[in-house]
Symmetry: D2
Subunit: 409 residues, 4 copies
Amino acid sequence: MTVSREVELEGHIIDSGMMQSCFGIIMDLGGSFSVQEFDIGRHKDEESYARMLVEADDEDQLQSIVHELHQHGVNPSDPKDATLVPAPDDQVVPHGFYSTTNHPTYIRHDGEWIEVEDVEMDCAVVVEDGDRPRAYTKVLNAIEEGDLVVTDETGIKVQPPERPRDSGGAFGFMQGGVSSERPSESTIRKIANAIEETKKEGGKVMAVCGPALIHSGAREDLARLVREGYVDMLSAGNGFAVHDIERDIYGTSLGMDTESLDHPRHGHKHHIYTISEVIREGGIEEAVESGTIESGVMYECIDNDRPFVLAGSIRDDGPLPDTITDAVEAQNAIREQAHEADMVLMLSTLLHSVAVGNCLPSTTRVVCVDINPATVTQLLDRGSAQAVGMVTDIGTFVPILAEQLLSEE
Amino acid sequence: MTVSREVELEGHIIDSGMMQSCFGIIMDLGGSFSVQEFDIGRHKDEESYARMLVEADDEDQLQSIVHELHQHGVNPSDPKDATLVPAPDDQVVPHGFYSTTNHPTYIRHDGEWIEVEDVEMDCAVVVEDGDRPRAYTKVLNAIEEGDLVVTDETGIKVQPPERPRDSGGAFGFMQGGVSSERPSESTIRKIANAIEETKKEGGKVMAVCGPALIHSGAREDLARLVREGYVDMLSAGNGFAVHDIERDIYGTSLGMDTESLDHPRHGHKHHIYTISEVIREGGIEEAVESGTIESGVMYECIDNDRPFVLAGSIRDDGPLPDTITDAVEAQNAIREQAHEADMVLMLSTLLHSVAVGNCLPSTTRVVCVDINPATVTQLLDRGSAQAVGMVTDIGTFVPILAEQLLSEE
Amino acid sequence: MTVSREVELEGHIIDSGMMQSCFGIIMDLGGSFSVQEFDIGRHKDEESYARMLVEADDEDQLQSIVHELHQHGVNPSDPKDATLVPAPDDQVVPHGFYSTTNHPTYIRHDGEWIEVEDVEMDCAVVVEDGDRPRAYTKVLNAIEEGDLVVTDETGIKVQPPERPRDSGGAFGFMQGGVSSERPSESTIRKIANAIEETKKEGGKVMAVCGPALIHSGAREDLARLVREGYVDMLSAGNGFAVHDIERDIYGTSLGMDTESLDHPRHGHKHHIYTISEVIREGGIEEAVESGTIESGVMYECIDNDRPFVLAGSIRDDGPLPDTITDAVEAQNAIREQAHEADMVLMLSTLLHSVAVGNCLPSTTRVVCVDINPATVTQLLDRGSAQAVGMVTDIGTFVPILAEQLLSEE
Amino acid sequence: MTVSREVELEGHIIDSGMMQSCFGIIMDLGGSFSVQEFDIGRHKDEESYARMLVEADDEDQLQSIVHELHQHGVNPSDPKDATLVPAPDDQVVPHGFYSTTNHPTYIRHDGEWIEVEDVEMDCAVVVEDGDRPRAYTKVLNAIEEGDLVVTDETGIKVQPPERPRDSGGAFGFMQGGVSSERPSESTIRKIANAIEETKKEGGKVMAVCGPALIHSGAREDLARLVREGYVDMLSAGNGFAVHDIERDIYGTSLGMDTESLDHPRHGHKHHIYTISEVIREGGIEEAVESGTIESGVMYECIDNDRPFVLAGSIRDDGPLPDTITDAVEAQNAIREQAHEADMVLMLSTLLHSVAVGNCLPSTTRVVCVDINPATVTQLLDRGSAQAVGMVTDIGTFVPILAEQLLSEE
């Protein structure tokens, strides 16, 4: 005696691999299925539709199949409303709370599908009832007692985006694995095109930067990109800002002159002296205003009103007064930026890139650049549909990117 | 006015991703299709079958679609005989010769399907006519004038293997990307199981070894695996053998005592002295017989009649008299071994692993172990269906593997 | 017309490279010198002594030579008292403050040399006057208005430790570069010896752990080392604790069963569920007491009173109530631990290892283990005289280390 | 009762670290010493001189100390003639033969010091007697019966070069470890300067190239450097040439269009088709002459008479008729090139770089470029005094280098 449930697949179900995953999941979990309707889009812009009956030996098995299908965007044909349970305490979610993916998500409430706002991974979904009910994500530590939290998987619809297949689009390039053996200049040209397209569409570009960018001599070119408006906001750490400012005040980065490659005497003290100078002034903005800082990435951010977040970490010296030392507070600042970004450049920092990536929906365009293939792989594995990775030297990447973008004007 | 051709998909076409590739190829190349029959295996051991009509705007487009489908195991429903053209000269193939994949391949000849022997990648297929016609692969430099070489893609059937999905089997583990963040001991246990299963089935295990194995102190345990019959044959380079023998004669590897970690004085000369001693004896076997070599991997190979190939390279010192210095000759020796192997352990050598991998059909079990994730990724990308990779330290991997295999007896 | 100053070198000035550095510095900076006394220790336990007259063209040049010599432990023969300037404001150091190295340091005050307490890199030195004057380090953000801060370089003596040359001692192994091609088991044996020696001397061993340790299956063996007292304190991040506890509650780490290598369904939610369970309980200790957590590294820390610091970071989920989210507060907690440690094991985490390393004097024994050679190199470059690095798989390193330490009892 | 021997140190003995090594060796080996004369160069261009009496407990100990000192350029003050023993057979050296370093070496023969020609590592030294006696290196497999081979260490003088300390010279930059966090553009500028300086001095520049150079899109710029005479000779493998020519004939490299990043259909067959086309023509030169090959690195080599060596390897497809498949024969061809080179660019190939590096004296300028830091470290560890390493992307390095060199004309 078997139990069954009808499920539906819609969209680019072939292309996105959804159908294959779906069949695999059912069979892996010991169920079986019959395809009841199968309407394949025969051209690349046509969507497909399939309706299947999933069969299992018992209700438990069926539940776990349907749960798993749901994670891959396969939804029951007979949806019910989402289950809402009030949070028992601040920061405490109800048992069995629904933990989000980073894909566009819809909650069924009073028979209507509501899109979940600010989707990001590993959050709870809170529903605000009322005339115009809303649903949005909350991280665990933001949950307040009484929040109506979605539990179980009933009444939830997830839409994993299909991978872009058409190599014509600005982001339809470089699929597949991560390798350093790719045409570097051509790839940078494609990334420049994608930035320009994003700007043309009125989108915002966010740069997430590690200190290696400064050490490797790419500071001046990044500063130009900030000045010229190709970078709208910046997310970095204390070290990035310190090295950037050290280069302005002392001409060095970690004590090395990035032009002449000399190590001036006393150079190893420059970074701690830089910190003490900025503390003395009261902060970066004050140091720019007083003329202590006259160039560089941070200078251009201040001078051109590009918002930045400097997130603290336990390896910081100082830190600078601008650095947000509390991790939760810093995450909130990063989250706010991330939700505004239409394209994110992750430039040679694993820590900050993961932090930003955690807050991004799978629909945001992401470019990851690092010289370590393992870093690029780890960042791309986070499930963005619009992510490209490049294994290259940040110290040559930024100058070539800047030349592409700035010489075309 | 369109042209069309009927094609068929058979086997685990969902699981293996064949169907998805197929739809993708047609649409990417600007064609369209209609599914005429679709019989999906509803359980995991059932095969599926699909028959489709592929449509294109002209014959050229149709050809290129059908060609591409063919590479992915989709074959026309109305097969014709393969086209055979005699080779115009030694080492010279006819224009448009068919270049093989590493998947099981069949050639249609006189209306019959013949399996191609010794399938490996990037070869020509030569058909020997006669009462019992044969088809086999030949590398370019082995082609002789007059060989009947298969050209075009007519009358060729390729069967890409499905990936094993059931995690119960000895090789149904560790799918997905390459990472060092996997449970190391459990993975080694699984690999030990797979070796045991291979041996139980009467299969042969081949070890491909780099010199790092000796430097990292794994020599004694590999020697035990050779002695106890868990390794049936060995493929390595001159350096591997030299360092193995240096350890026997001088107690060092590259001049370092791998037990005490001391660097005895004169140690840096040991490897060149080792080479000169073996040359003086006339070869490894002679040096074993004379008692000059009394232990180690090469010793056990000689003592237990395990065949080995030492392939030369331009970075060799010496080389030893046993080292095959001609690359083509060495490839032929490797090829012979590879065709006999049922399971291949690739142990911390990119060069030799690629050379062996080039000669393997996609059905041979392969385990790649290296501390550099890029090496493991590159080896796994070669399209074996039965390959697992592990990013770990060869100096701890071999001892733990040996303990697993030898303590269970 | 030249100016000159007499300087002295004492100790293992040949062995430590001090003399070579000294001659190099003088000549690089355009000075010259005459050796006035040179008393070379002729055996390895004899110290040497040299007195030299450094000559330069002008006072500026002389100053910069003497400054640089000072960083390398060469001190003027005619010392004066250190210069003390009160800090103008909280967190603001006087101009020209002396920024510390991580070597043992002495301050001359009222004609007496006082050892600086809690030496670590990039700090200010504060002198507390009185009957028994003290000198100690303060990080910039701990400076309070009025603190007497040492400025310039007068009256400061630094003693860079010589590298241990004798391979007999527990730490006299593995000098030279970082490589994965070292004998792994022998090296782990040496590290086990050094841990035992440290414990025998009554010293404390601190483990700094990254989440890869859990993913790679080394959790149970690390837990045993904590239980048996080979690890006295733990420094890690939120993720490490979450994955450790996830393994206890759900049997998985990042959703993968580290024994069977299966990915149970729902597994990807386990880590966020783990966090929510611990939050619900109020913390790790509470969850241990209530029986929710019954095994693992954190469990053993609680059960055996081994202090731990969980430092927050911007990539944390949750975080757990035990995680210190403020970077400065977390640094202070780490600093306190670091000052108590006699030996530090840095296990597959760059972030936490750098944070701990920042707080260590150059005399603490350090072992860095990571599968990425760049990480090991970066950690060893921080100037500890007693540091060894090992490029290996943490998932095999910890089990082999545990076997060495625990089977010998 | 002790034995003793007088030794001398000459040259930049402080700077080069010779003195420190010398003291260390004596003490490590249980000896002692007294400095009898010590004449330190007080300015950076002055050489130093020291004469010491080395004491040991017995003759054996003294021998091993003196042997070790000798390896570091410390020579006895009372030299004797070198010991010459005839080789007993072809390829068989006398017992105790002297195995060379890569440093300039002199043999004492009939009371005169003769410079050893073509010094490279791990060779025997053969002396040709006669009116004007010569000494030169021979690799083991080139030894002929009766060759007079130098044995022991008597009468041999080695001169390890000092590291350049002055950062003004074209090669006086980038000392210290290998890191990707160096200023990339500035470093490439320095390398361009060193190439120009080498050319100005009438020197020859050799490029050693891996296939990644082609895949990463640097082919056109390298071709320009060959054409314009900045690269005088080329050492590479079969794969490099195949991919270079594939790009010319089919517009792809490994099947990918390096400009558009597209993968044209059939692309994966291009490399094997390229090989078969060149075989059909009879070789690269024939294919250039017939117009089959019209551009690229190999084309420019042929067109501008730049000699090239294509060394075979066991992972080659084909190979091309130009590829030398025998490793020993290939080494001899590489050796001949290497001895003519004044500067060697090692561009993203470990195998060929090691092979070339093996044949270089320590005085040749070497630049190693690779994206993998372990590769750069391994190449720099070979003891060249004039080597710089750079961890960067070859696909951006070559274009920026070419722009530096070609735009300045």
